[in-house]
């Protein structure tokens, strides 16, 4: 009872802290502590955001970016899980591929953009291909690890119960690897957003990335901030979506 009330108090407190930060922002602009061109007031930024959404153009741009990101993510996840599962379950495959995967791991996914442009030019499909290909690694590597690192005790149990190969993969390996796979999918979604935005910036394809770049170049800072807020929102929804997926698929995890 008092615990509940205590919890509510903390929530209210954190809302107050967040509100204080916005108030500080508003105050800073009111007192002209920073050039207004660098830091428009929060009300101006949000007003711009609201207008843009109401007009529909900001909404369209957000959808364009989000679509690209999601398609790329779905492709990357499917490929990553399938490939990662096959590699992870086969000890031999892991041995052969381990150094290659290790070397590719630290590569920024965005480096595929110049490669993609060099190979395919500025075709519309190129960006999606680069997103999918770049975002495969964050899923692939944890999946390989998840499937490869199954507790030997579980393997023994499966051995004694006499389960078939397929049964083992579906009933033992997949659930055991699922936490790692989902963690990988979370990283992959973040990577997708990044590659999408950067890709838009350098290929000037329609989307939030292009828009905020243009806004910065034209010194339209309220447009810029509106775009940043929207991208932050997309990022927030991404996390929320994956948190939901986690809760649904991993009900046994003790939080």
């Amino acid at each position: 009872m008092s615990g509940d009330r205590g919890g509510l108090l903390w929530h209210v407190g954190s809302v107050l802290v967040a509100a204080a930060i916005f108030a500080a922002w508003a105050l800073a602009t009111r007192l002209h502590l920073v050039q207004p061109i660098f830091l428009p007031s929060p009300s101006a930024a949000f007003a711009n955001l609201w207008r843009g959404l109401a007009r529909g153009d900001l909404l369209m741009l957000t959808i364009a970016t989000t679509e690209r990101m999601i398609y790329g993510w779905v492709l990357a996840s499917l490929g990553g899980i399938l490939l990662g599962g096959l590699i992870g379950l086969s000890a031999k495959a892991r041995q052969w591929l381990a150094p290659t995967l290790e070397l590719l791991r630290p590569l920024p996914a965005s480096t595929l953009l110049p490669v993609g442009i060099a190979l395919f030019g500025l075709q519309p499909g190129m960006l999606l291909a680069v997103i999918a290909f770049g975002a495969i690694w964050p899923v692939l590597l944890p999946t390989v690890h998840g499937f490869g690192d199954i507790d030997p005790r579980l393997r023994e149990v499966a051995h004694h119960l006499g389960v078939s190969r397929l049964s083992f993969a579906v009933k033992f390996a997949l659930p055991a690897a699922l936490p790692d796979v989902i963690a990988g999918m979370r990283l992959s979604l973040t990577a997708c957003l990044i590659i999408t935005v950067v890709g838009e910036m350098i290929t000037a394809q329609e989307g939030l990335g292009t828009t905020i770049m243009l806004a910065a170049r034209s010194f339209r800072s309220t447009d810029l901030y509106a775009g940043i807020i929207l991208l932050g929102l997309v990022g927030f929804l991404n996390n929320a979506l994956l948190g939901l997926v986690e809760r649904i698929l991993l009900p046994w995890r003790v939080r």
């Binding site: 930060i21 041995q95 290659t100 590569l107 965005s110 991208l231 932050g232 927030f236 996390n239």
Partner: protein, 259 residues
């Protein structure tokens, strides 16, 4: 004995694959005679790499990427470390800060690129600002976790010893959390490299990322892939070096979950 010999062979086998692939690519490109703006023979790539090393371009570009990392990661990381320690020690503060963190954390660093461009124009400061923003969050959260997971009895003991707050932190809290904080630093630096290169690809005409873009625009795929290879090696070496340092300082078990 025998099993060790097998182990060594096995690990060598893993290196065989990239070599085989490169050989296959070399042969395929030579035979088919394809010349494309996007492909380059492995021998050409190696040649380009050596050429870049010889005329100092690699070192120059690498420094252009590393300089903002050093600047940005230090600033953003230090602030994250400081705030993270505070949030780790004070569950109250952590809870109060919760919403604000959740609101501002999801902003993708790439979204800030145009803003820093607006404020600083091209150059080191712009890139360092982005890196600082990006490095702040993992350092904040990982340090908070590291400090929050310290054995509570240690903190009790620190208070019981009557040490002033600052001494408590310096003498007991930070050393206790040191291993995990070092892991946080390693992870954050890895992220810093990625963000630096991404910023260079997106906007800033300096560094290794821009070198790749520039090579692509000048239709020199061999140079582009050379820089790509160098980047992969650099990223791997950075992580491996820090891992080795981590193991030397804190023992082999630390950071195991975050390779």
């Amino acid at each position: 004995m025998f099993s060790e010999r097998i182990d060594r062979l096995v690990s060598r086998r893993g290196w065989l694959l990239p070599l085989l692939l490169m050989a296959a690519a070399e042969i395929a490109l030579r035979i088919s005679g394809i010349r494309s703006d996007g492909l380059a023979r492995p021998t050409e790539i190696i040649q380009a790499l050596l050429g870049l090393a010889a005329d100092g371009a690699i070192l120059q570009r690498t420094w252009e990427t590393l300089a903002p990392i050093l600047l940005g990661a230090t600033i953003g990381g230090a602030i994250g470390l400081f705030l993270g320690t505070w949030l780790g020690l004070s569950p109250a503060a952590a809870r109060l800060a919760g919403l604000s963190v959740e609101l501002f954390r999801p902003i993708p660093p790439v979204a800030i690129i145009p803003l820093t461009l607006l404020i600083y124009g091209f150059g080191v400061r712009m890139e360092a600002a982005i890196i600082a923003f990006t490095c702040f969050w993992p350092m904040l959260l990982l340090t908070r976790d590291a400090v929050a997971s310290i054995e509570p009895r240690l903190i009790e003991m620190a208070r019981a010893l009557g040490l002033p707050r600052r001494k408590q932190i310096v003498k007991i809290v930070l050393p206790a959390a040191a291993a995990r904080i070092f892991t946080a630093v390693r992870v954050t630096l890895g992220i810093a490299l990625i963000v630096a290169v991404t910023t260079e690809i997106a906007a800033n005409p300096f560094g290794l990322g821009y070198a790749m873009i520039s090579a692509e625009m000048s239709l020199r795929p061999d140079v582009m892939y050379a820089f790509l290879l160098w980047l992969a090696a650099l990223g791997w070496a950075l992580n491996a070096g820090l891992l080795m340092l981590e193991e030397r300082l804190f023992g082999a078990k630390s950071g195991r979950s975050m390779r």
